[in-house]
Structure formats: structure tokens, C-alpha cells
């Protein structure tokens, strides 16, 4: 299903009418929030960790060129093949060339948003390569031909009844809504695929520059099988995912699990430091890593906005967001959604396709409070709104209106008249007619202007108090 953030207004309207979706999203986000809060409360040095993580990311992003070179050098030393891709097209070509060269017929994948970004599943399947998601949530959305609706919980928008029906329809399973039985159905289907696959494709949570290794964090052990069973492992990584050294890793692991799933630690942390050695003969014969730019260096170039590259994709900002809670992730129309997605959409896709994203927020700032790496998302949304306006993509007529308003506001007498006028009009007409705001007024009574206004009242107050003191 092709989606685009340029249709976000339409998606939002549709989502708001979908009570089934809203119940599922509300329930899932509330559960996630409670679990997060519970775990964060148990970590007294949580705020210290956030500051530390910020400092690490700042260093990495500001010296990314050096860290990337260091990482590449160390990967090669460890026998990992390193590929560089500037954009989606290049990434797809590199991957397909590799698939052809190595005679790969079937692929298993563990959860990776970066591969969603380059539409890898569709691309490979169209080329006739069997490509299967193995994370349960990803498997479900793949069966539904959808994109994930959450950064860490791809099928968050679905209930277990939805999933029961899906498995019945697509896999011919007997209907059940028992989570354990559903899991067993998927597991049975997937286990054979793991054993038969020629290649495993994973994402990367954190890559470590000074050791040329990386890790993949997960709960289902599907990533463990993906990176260890097939003869080739390909990891796809956005270039911002680097950490300088091993020492930084605990900071991020401690932040990620509570923020993402409300766990103290994830069930599995897979470390990949190279292909199987002759001595032990365990793991894939070949390990490849593809480093993807895809607009990241462009984002990095803007010092005011590069903080948005600090994101570790935990999804906490989605769960806390009162907008996300109402509409879910598909309403944003892209693989990165919620508050952080709204900052990334216009930066990755441009100010035309992404022009609505920074505005679909009430700027409440709850996201910043929970962000484990302290990305000031509401401030970045404001900067991006400015960019949209500067690019001439604002609402029709708005610029003119703002210009008139700004002129009036520089002239107090005129400004007072301009605001006095609707008050007089409102005396004659009902609020809705004097102050037309159809969408707003549909479910809300329009506020009444005070016909006297503050200044008149102030003068009266001062006159009265003078009188009484005389």
C-alpha cells in the first residue's frame, strides 16, 4: 500500500472515524506508558543517563566522518564487507547485486526500519526473491501488506482478534485470539524459513566505531536466528547509528529498553563482530554491512536541526504523544511517525511532500520529556514550520494575513481597533457568525469577546479605587 505524508490530513480524518483502530492504539500506548514509567522510576540516575547519551550522540554526529572511517576500517579488519549507499536506489542496487552474485533465493529479515525506508521487501519480492519478515509484528503487517504503525511495535494498531482473523484468512489457521497460540502459528510457519534461507537481513541498533562491531536488540530471538543461521548476513544501517566505543553502549542499552518496551533490559542483545571463524565455525560465512545515507548527511549539515539524528528509534515519543494516541502511526504516511517522524518527514522527503508533518502537532512538548536522548522535538517542529513557510509551502492566504496582522500589531491604536471590531460585531451576531471558524466551532462554543476590553476596565478600576481612597 503506497502512502505519502502529503495525504496526512486525509489519513487523520479517516483514523479519527475508526473507533476500532483508536481503541487498539489507545490501549497499547497506555500500557506502554505505564510500563515505561514504572521502569524509569526504578532508575534513580535516569536523567544522568539522558544527558550522557546526548553528549555521546553530539560527539558522534559532529565527527561522523571520522567515526565512519574508523568503523569501516575496523569492520574490514574483522572480515566484514562494507558497502556505502547514498540513497534508496543505490542501496537497492547494491543489495540486489549481492543477492545475484551469491545466488540467494530466499531471505529472512528481522525488524529494520531502515530497510522499510528503502522499500526493500517490495523491491526484492518484485525481483522474485522470497523475502520474509520474522519479527511477529513485522510478519503481521507484511501479511496485511501494510507498513509498520509504530517504531518498535509494528502491529500496534491491530487487536489480537484482528490478528486471529488474519492468520485464519492468510495462513489457513483455525481462528484463535489467544496470544500464545497466535505466536505458535507464526513460529511454525517461520521456523522452516529460517533453516532454508540463504541470507538474513537485519537492521542495526548500535554500531561501535573503535571495534568494528554492531549490535541488534530484540525480544523474540528471531533476530538471533536471522543473523546466525543463514550463510550470509547483511545488516542495513543508517550512518547515524554509530557509537564511538564499547563504553558508550551500556548507557544506550539502559535507556533503550525502558523507553521502548518498559523492560529493564531486552531479552536478547546480539553482537556481531565478523563472520564465522575457521577455528569455531559458528555463524554466517559472510557478513556484510550497508551504510545508508539517504538524506542523513543533508540533515547533519544543518546545525540547528542535526539533533534529530540522535534518535535511537525507541518509540517513547509516539506513546506519550496526544496526537499519535488519537490517530496511530499510519496517519503520518511514512515509516517514521509520531513526533520524531514529524521532524524527519520534511527533512527526508522535502518541504513539499512533508509540508504538513510539522504542523500536525499541538507542540505540547511531552515527547521531549520522555526522549531518552533529549531531542527537543517541539523546538525542531517549530524550526521546520519556519522552513515550510520560507519555502512558500504555507497555507493559501496565510502569509498575507500574517503580514496584515504584523503591521497592525506594530501600531497599538490600529491593533486595538482591529480587535475591538469583532467584539462589536459579536454583539450583533451569534459568535459563530461573527468569528467564523467552522471546524473549531463544530464541537466548541465560540468564546465571547469582551466588549469593554481590558484597558477600559483598568481605567474604571483605577478611577474607582481613587474615589474610594478620597
Amino acid at each position: 500500500m503506497e502512502m505519502t505524508p502529503s495525504k496526512t490530513k486525509q489519513y487523520i480524518k479517516e483514523a479519527l472515524k475508526d473507533d476500532h483502530l483508536r481503541t487498539a492504539v489507545d490501549k497499547a500506548t497506555q500500557t506502554a506508558l505505564h510500563k515505561r514509567e514504572d521502569k524509569v522510576d526504578q532508575i534513580p540516575y535516569w536523567e544522568d543517563l539522558r544527558f550522557k547519551a546526548y553528549a555521546v550522540k553530539q560527539d558522534v554526529i559532529e565527527h561522523l566522518d571520522q567515526y565512519l572511517e574508523e568503523f569501516e576500517k575496523n569492520c574490514k579488519q574483522n572480515g566484514i564487507h562494507v558497502h556505502w549507499a547514498a540513497d534508496t536506489e543505490e542501496a537497492q542496487k547494491i543489495i540486489f547485486d549481492l543477492v545475484k552474485e551469491k545466488n540467494v533465493k530466499t531471505i529472512v529479515k528481522s525488524k529494520s526500519l531502515t530497510t522499510e525506508e528503502i522499500h526493500l521487501n517490495k523491491f526484492l519480492i518484485d525481483k522474485g526473491i522470497e523475502t520474509l519478515e520474522t519479527d511477529l509484528g513485522e510478519y503481521i503487517v507484511q501479511l496485511m501488506d501494510q507498513i509498520p504503525s509504530h517504531l518498535t511495535a509494528p502491529a500496534l494498531h491491530l487487536t489480537r482478534q484482528d490478528i486471529g482473523k488474519l492468520f485464519q484468512e492468510k495462513l489457513g489457521a483455525d481462528y484463535t485470539e489467544d496470544p500464545e497460540e497466535l505466536l505458535q502459528i507464526a513460529r511454525k510457519k517461520l521456523r522452516q524459513k529460517f533453516l532454508a534461507a540463504d541470507m538474513g537481513i537485519s537492521g542495526v541498533n548500535f554500531a561501535i566505531a573503535d571495534s568494528g562491531s554492531f549490535c541488534v536488540v530484540e525480544n523474540e530471538a528471531n533476530a538471533h536466528l536471522t543473523v546466525s543461521l543463514p550463510r550470509i548476513h547483511l545488516a542495513v544501517m543508517g550512518i547515524e547509528k554509530l557509537l564511538p566505543d564499547k563504553g558508550a553502549l551500556p548507557v544506550f542499552l539502559k535507556l533503550l529498553a525502558p523507553s521502548a518496551t518498559g523492560q529493564k533490559a531486552t531479552s536478547y542483545v546480539n553482537f556481531i563482530g565478523g563472520p564465522s571463524s575457521e577455528k569455531y565455525n559458528e555463524g554466517p560465512k559472510e557478513v556484510h554491512i550497508l551504510l545508508l545515507d539517504n538524506s542523513r548527511s543533508k540533515i547533519l549539515a544543518d546545525s540547528r536541526l542535526r539533533e534529530t539524528l540522535f534518535c535511537i528509534r525507541c518509540g517513547a515519543c509516539l506513546n506519550i504523544c496526544p496526537v499519535y494516541q488519537q490517530v496511530g502511526g499510519h496517519a503520518y504516511g511514512w515509516v517514521y511517525m509520531g513526533p520524531i517522524g514529524s521532524t524527519l518527514i520534511p527533512q527526508y522527503l522535502g518541504l513539499v511532500e512533508g509540508k504538513y508533518a510539522p504542523f500536525a502537532s499541538s507542540l505540547c512538548g511531552a515527547c521531549y520529556e520522555v526522549c531518552p536522548v533529549r531531542i527537543n522535538i517541539p523546538h525542531h517542529l517549530l524550526k521546520l514550520r519556519n522552513k515550510v513557510v520560507e519555502a512558500g509551502q504555507s497555507m493559501k492566504g496565510e502569509k498575507m494575513g500574517i503580514a496584515v496582522w504584523a503591521f497592525l500589531a506594530k501600531h497599538p491604536m490600529l491593533y486595538r481597533f482591529a480587535t475591538w471590531f469583532p467584539a462589536q460585531l459579536q454583539k450583533l451576531l451569534p459568535g459563530e457568525m461573527a468569528f467564523p471558524a467552522p471546524g473549531y466551532a463544530k464541537e466548541r462554543a465560540i468564546g465571547r469577546f469582551d466588549p469593554k476590553g481590558f484597558r477600559k476596565k483598568l481605567f474604571k478600576l483605577e478611577k474607582d479605587s481613587k474615589k474610594s481612597s478620597e
Binding site: S362, A366, L382, K383, A406, Y415, E443, I446
Partner: protein, 241 residues
């Protein structure tokens, strides 16, 4: 101690009574005030809509008008945050920057000023009603003001204060957001009002007129029991001012 009042647009034209209440309370507490003539808008609506260049002259006007005042106090968290936080993101003329830095240290939202600067521990009045408090977003998360308004409310005799569920979740106003994404904004305010109603409060107290307008508009349209009230009005009423 003398404060210069900044009366934001909504306070001037829709909630003039709340601004008057603020003055009455200040007077009652023996705090001198002055109204600076020539003030208009801080520029927040345009800034939040992405228009920065257009806001610069307004910000510069504001800085010049208020730069020599000992304290500037506003009955609004979001307008205070606009000056204190967001003016620094604008391309203000260099010669005005020191004045802005200085002004940022002396500009306060009302409850913050009363508790943190004027060191008012209690208000002493009485208000025998059940009330709850809405944490407005900018006041809470940009300025970090959570306890000050609660402290003032708790000091009122006979008041039945209850915390509603998620008191700091956004009411969905968001300025032009409520117009551009009106359905979304509506579903957010509906949820806020559900929490207010569940608290059983007769009044939902807040420190930002914009949220209160939004919330009150929904409560009225849907014939819900509670009414929105600015904290300045609550303090003035409790003191029979």
C-alpha cells in the same frame, strides 16, 4: 516591589476580567503594578505558525517597551515562554540581545511570580467548591511550573481540590492547530473534558486563557457540568475582591 503587566491578546479582548482579577490580587498582596502603554501581541501565533521574520519587529518592540522594568508579569504561561524562551531563537538585532537576556530573567508567569519571587505562601481566601487543575503545556514543559499554581490553590480555605487523570495532557488547542487540524484538536479536547468530568470538579482551573477558552468552549457546547476558570479569577473570587 513593582511589576509591569503584560496583558496578552486573549486577556485583553476575551478574558479582560481575568486580567483585572490579577491586578486585584496583586493589589491585595501589596504588590505595586503598572500597565505599559503601547503593548500589543508577543508574536506567538505567528511564530508558532512558522513566521519568524514577521515576529522580529514585534519582539524588538516588546524588548524596548519592557527592558527597564524590574519585573514583567503575564497571566499566561505560553506568552511568557514566547518571550523567555522563543525570542532567543529569533534574529533580534545585536544591540537588543543584552536587553533580551536580561528581560528573560525578569519575566514571569503570574503564579510563578507570586510563589517564587513574591514568596506568597498562601492566599488566605475561601472558595467552597470542588476544583481541578489543568497543566498548560508551555507553562509546564517550557517553564517548568507545576507546583506553584497548586500551592496557591491548596492555600485557599474550604476548597475541594482533586487531581484529574493526566492533568498535564494537552487540551488540543495549539493555536492555529485547532483550526488547521480541527477534528484532531476536537478529539483531544474531548478527552481532556472527559477527565475533567470524571474528576467531578465544578471548575477546571488553568493559567492560560487559550486552553481555558478551548476547554470551556467544549464543556459548554456539550452541556458538561464543569466550567473553566483562570487562576487569577479563582484567587480574586476566594478573596471576595
Amino acid at each position: 516591589m513593582k511589576v509591569a503587566l503584560f496583558i496578552p491578546c486573549l486577556s485583553e479582548h476575551m478574558f479582560a476580567e481575568s486580567a483585572i482579577s490579577m491586578i486585584k490580587v496583586l493589589k491585595h498582596l501589596g504588590i505595586e503594578y503598572e500597565y505599559v502603554e503601547g503593548q500589543t501581541c508577543c508574536g506567538q501565533p505567528a511564530f508558532n505558525s512558522g513566521y519568524r521574520k514577521e515576529v522580529v519587529p514585534l519582539a524588538e518592540r516588546f524588548i524596548k517597551l519592557f527592558k527597564d522594568k524590574e519585573f514583567v508579569v503575564a497571566p499566561s504561561g505560553s506568552c511568557t515562554a514566547m518571550v523567555r524562551i522563543f525570542y532567543h531563537e529569533l534574529e533580534i538585532r545585536d544591540e537588543l540581545k543584552p536587553a533580551l537576556n536580561d528581560l528573560s530573567k525578569r519575566m514571569y508567569e503570574l503564579t510563578e511570580f507570586l510563589v517564587d519571587v513574591a514568596k506568597i505562601d498562601g492566599i488566605g481566601g475561601s472558595f467552597a467548591h470542588r476544583v481541578t487543575y489543568h497543566d498548560s503545556c508551555h507553562l509546564t514543559r517550557e517553564l517548568g511550573v507545576r507546583e506553584q499554581p497548586r500551592k496557591l490553590i491548596h492555600s485557599i480555605k474550604d476548597i475541594d481540590f482533586v487531581e484529574m487523570e493526566k492533568s498535564d495532557i494537552c487540551c488540543g488547542f495549539g493555536g492555529t492547530f485547532s483550526y488547521k487540524f480541527s477534528e484532531l484538536s476536537t478529539s483531544m479536547v474531548a478527552r481532556k473534558c472527559k477527565y475533567i468530568e470524571e474528576s467531578g470538579a465544578e471548575y477546571v482551573i488553568g493559567a492560560d486563557s487559550s486552553c481555558l477558552m478551548n476547554i470551556d468552549g467544549y464543556l459548554r457546547k456539550h452541556n458538561m457540568k464543569a466550567r473553566a476558570m483562570h487562576i487569577a479569577d479563582l484567587l480574586a473570587k476566594s478573596l471576595n475582591l
